[in-house]
Structure formats: structure tokens, C-alpha cells
Amino acid sequence: MDFLLASLIDGLLLGFVYGIAAMGLTLIWGVMNVINLSHGPIIALGMFGVYYIFSALGIHPYLALIAVAAGGLLLGGLIYFVAVHRVIDAPHLSTLLATFSVNMIIIGLGTAAFSASPRNVDFTLGSFEIGSITILGTRLVAAILAMFVTGGLYLFLYKSRYGRYIRAVTDNRDAAELMGVPSVRILALSFGLGTMLAAISGGLIATFFPFTILAGGSYELKSFVVSVLGGLGNPVGALLAGLILGAIEGIIPTVLPTTWVPVLEFVLFILILLFRPQGLFKTKSS
């Protein structure tokens, strides 16, 4: 029983991080109807960002995250203008191919620069016990930081001028333009925020799992499952769905071999697409 509870808590803590990764994906989809296939490599870049800032400069990984977040924001803006902007009104296939190309470029450059050998951030916060349950410090901090990031995103979107602009452009881009909103810059900002969230999630994952430049791929797939579960375009749904996925990942290995985890995740993915494509949390009216 304790073992089950420990796995569940472990999974839930991880779920917060999945949640913010998926928020990045879902934010971009929600604002501009673009599926960002460079999501995974950006998660990996976040991992490498924390790794190098920590191991080469000796800066604390959680401080390194700030630089990684800023880098993610800028990189996202750059990707928007270079690869996405010109095809933003074209059919979905064009934006898929454009972001997929970015995906290939990052992986190619990343493999050349970092090789494909695994790294890990040599850093620990120890662990502590609550009753008979052991919690890894880095995971707890990652979950707490992910909550702060979520809260920050919410405040930004709902309480700030630029957040309101993002919601306006999401709602009706032409009307936003007519009201004086520079919609192209807002799209670039939104893409930047989406990649920033991906990079932060990568940076957090790097504090407890080893990784290579290819490691982002599996988190990208999880982000898809989580986004769809939470309702594509719904950031709050993404966080809740992240927790669900985390919990599933925590519990399944206690009853089945670990290899079943992706199988069941994608069965869930298909079931959701079939029976509740609007996601778990979306009501009909909204």
C-alpha cells in the first residue's frame, strides 16, 4: 500500500512537469492553430541549457532555469519569424512541415554539438521521508516550480495587457488588429511563451533524469497525450491532465511491466480522441 502511494506521489510530482510541457504545446495550438513539432527538441535544449550552465559555469541549476526560460522565449520568437510566420495562414500541413523541419535542424545541430551520449546534471537535493514514503527533493522542487510557472502564466494571460492581447488574438485576430493590437508580434510572443514552457520543463526534467539530444521526443509525445486529454488549447486542462498522466505513469509499473506504460498511455490517447475529443475538462458551452 505504501509502495503504491509512494509511486503515485512520485508520478504526480512528475505530472506537474508534464503539465507545463503540454501547456507550451497547447498554448501555441490555442493561439495560432499550429502543432509545434519542434516541441521535443526544445525540451531537450532546455535540458542541455541547464546542464551546461551548471557544469561549465557552476551556476545553480534552478538559477540556470531562468536563463533557459529567457533563451526559450527568444528562440521561440526566432522560430516563429523564420519558420512559421510565412505559412501561418496556409493549411495545417505547411505548418507541420515547417516546425518538423525546425525539429530536424535542432536535432542535427544538437547531435553534432553534444553527440548522442547521455548526460546527467550531477546535482541532488537528497530525499526526505514522510512516514514510510520517500520523496526525492529534486522532484518536489520541480513540482513546486512548475506550479509557480503555471500561476505566473495564468496571471500573465489574465491580468496583464499583453496577456489580454494574446487572448484577443486567439479569439479574433482581425478584430484585435482593428483595435490596435500588433497581431504578428503577439503571435511571435505566444510562440515564444510556448517554447519557453517546453524549455523550462526540459530543464526541470534534467535535474532528475539522464538525457540525450533525442530525449525530447518521448516528452513531446507525452505532451500530445496530455494536451488532448486536457482539451487542446486549454492550458489549465493541460496541467490537470499532466497530473493524470503522471499518476498513471506512477501506478502502472507497480502492477505491470514498465513497457506497458506507453502502450496504455496511447490507448488512453486514442480513447480520448474517439470518445471525448474536446478533452476531459471542456464543457460544451466554452
Binding site: R164, A168, D174, E177, L178, G180
Partner: protein
């Protein structure tokens, strides 16, 4: 020279040309109306003036300045504001947030409080429901909000595409009175209207559009007496 001048504009959608050399001139402080049959190109003209559609040829001038190459948000920023056809509200936002969005241009921000009070006084209904989502309001309420949002932008030139569509006649009269008030404050306005009789009655100058061109223009009162206009547009 007019406050807003549209010189010999051509434009369209994709390969399809809709406007074939449209020329309009809005005198400062005038209420100008633009009328014409369905499909004549009125909305296309508005979208091209704002830059939501790129003009193929011709130019747009605001207060003596060529603004043909500005994008829509830059035009809103300098005071050229369109209340678009079909309302185009931010449906997921509350009424108040829609109004705050209207006040996005820098020139409008310092006056947001005054303008809020002003539009709430014009449309008390909006104040009562200010926290309701715009998408859940009735058609008439949405139209009020669309106009109010435009006023929030502190326009120098305010263009309204389909003012009276879907509104009860009493409300239309109210709205026209509101516009008269704005006009007395010096605002330059253009109205696109289906109700030609009403449009000619309230405006100073009018343009009649057909097939992507200005067919007739002149003093509204004189146009209202014009034999051809009476037959073709007023059904008299």
C-alpha cells in the same frame, strides 16, 4: 482636403477583383454614408481602407498623410477605427474586457476611464452586464458593444459597417443620436448602411456604390431627392 481620402483603390480576394477604382473623401467633422446593394463592395472597401486587405492600386490618406502601407493596428493607433461588419467581438471575454481591448491604442489609454463612463452612459445595458461573456449576449447587445468598443479607441475617424443590422428601430434611433453627439464633438464618421432612407436622413454626404465603384455621390439631402436613387434604392 478631407480627413480621410481614398483615391482610386482597386482590390479583391485572391485573383478576384472586387473594387474597380473606388474614390471616397470624408470631410473633417462630417457624417458620411456609404450605401449600395448587397455585394456592391462596401465591406471590401472598409477592409481595404484598414489594410486588412492589401490595396492592389490606389492610396489611402489620413489628414494629409499617405497611410496606404500601414497595417490595421497602426491605423487604429493613429485614430482610424473600424467597427467591422458582423461585430467581431472577443466572444470569450467579458463586456468590460472587450471595452478595455477597444482602448488598446496608446492614444486611447489615458482616456479609458472617461470613455468607459461615456459608453456606459450611452448604453446602460452594457454596464448592467459588464461581467457577462460577450459571446452570450443578444444580437442587439452585441451590436451596442461593437460600437462602444470602437468609441473606446478614441477615434478621429470612426467607420461603422452595418450599424443598424439586427437592431430594433427604437435602438437604431438611439444609436443615430449617439452618433450625432460624437459628430458634434468633432469626430469624422462613415456609416455603411442597408437602411438607405435612414442613412441619407442623418448624414451630410453620401456615396452610392455599385459593382465595386462609386456610382453616385453628393449631398445627402439632394441624393434623397434624386429620381434614380429614389427608384433604385428607396423603392419609391
Amino acid at each position: 482636403m478631407g480627413m480621410l481620402e481614398i483615391r482610386d483603390i482597386t482590390s479583391g480576394y485572391g485573383e478576384v477583383q472586387i473594387l474597380w477604382g473606388t474614390t471616397l473623401n470624408l470631410e473633417k467633422g462630417d457624417l458620411t454614408s456609404l450605401v449600395g446593394a448587397n455585394g456592391a463592395g462596401k465591406t471590401t472597401t472598409m477592409r481595404t481602407i484598414m489594410g486588412l486587405l492589401k490595396p492592389w492600386q490606389g492610396s489611402v490618406w489620413f489628414d494629409g498623410q499617405d497611410i496606404s502601407n500601414m497595417s490595421a493596428h497602426e491605423k487604429a493607433e493613429i485614430g482610424v477605427v473600424l467597427v467591422p461588419e458582423g461585430r467581431q467581438l472577443f466572444t470569450q471575454m467579458s463586456i468590460e474586457e472587450n471595452l478595455e481591448m477597444g482602448a488598446s491604442p496608446k492614444r486611447a489609454r489615458p482616456h479609458i476611464q472617461r470613455n468607459l463612463e461615456r459608453v456606459y452612459a450611452m448604453f446602460p445595458r452594457l454596464k448592467e452586464r459588464r461581467l457577462q461573456k460577450a459571446g452570450t449576449m443578444s444580437g442587439g447587445e452585441q451590436q451596442m458593444l461593437a460600437v462602444a468598443r470602437g468609441i473606446m479607441a478614441e477615434p478621429i475617424v470612426l467607420m461603422i459597417d452595418e450599424l443598424s443590422l439586427g437592431l430594433a428601430p427604437v435602438l437604431v434611433l438611439d444609436l443615430f443620436q449617439t452618433l450625432q453627439k460624437l459628430k458634434s464633438e468633432g469626430m469624422t464618421m462613415m456609416l455603411v448602411e442597408q437602411n438607405v432612407q435612414m442613412a441619407l436622413a442623418v448624414s451630410d454626404y453620401a456615396y452610392v456604390m455599385a459593382h465595386g465603384k462609386v456610382e453616385l455621390h453628393g449631398n445627402s439631402r439632394e441624393l434623397a431627392k434624386n429620381e434614380y436613387v429614389r427608384k433604385a434604392y428607396l423603392g419609391l
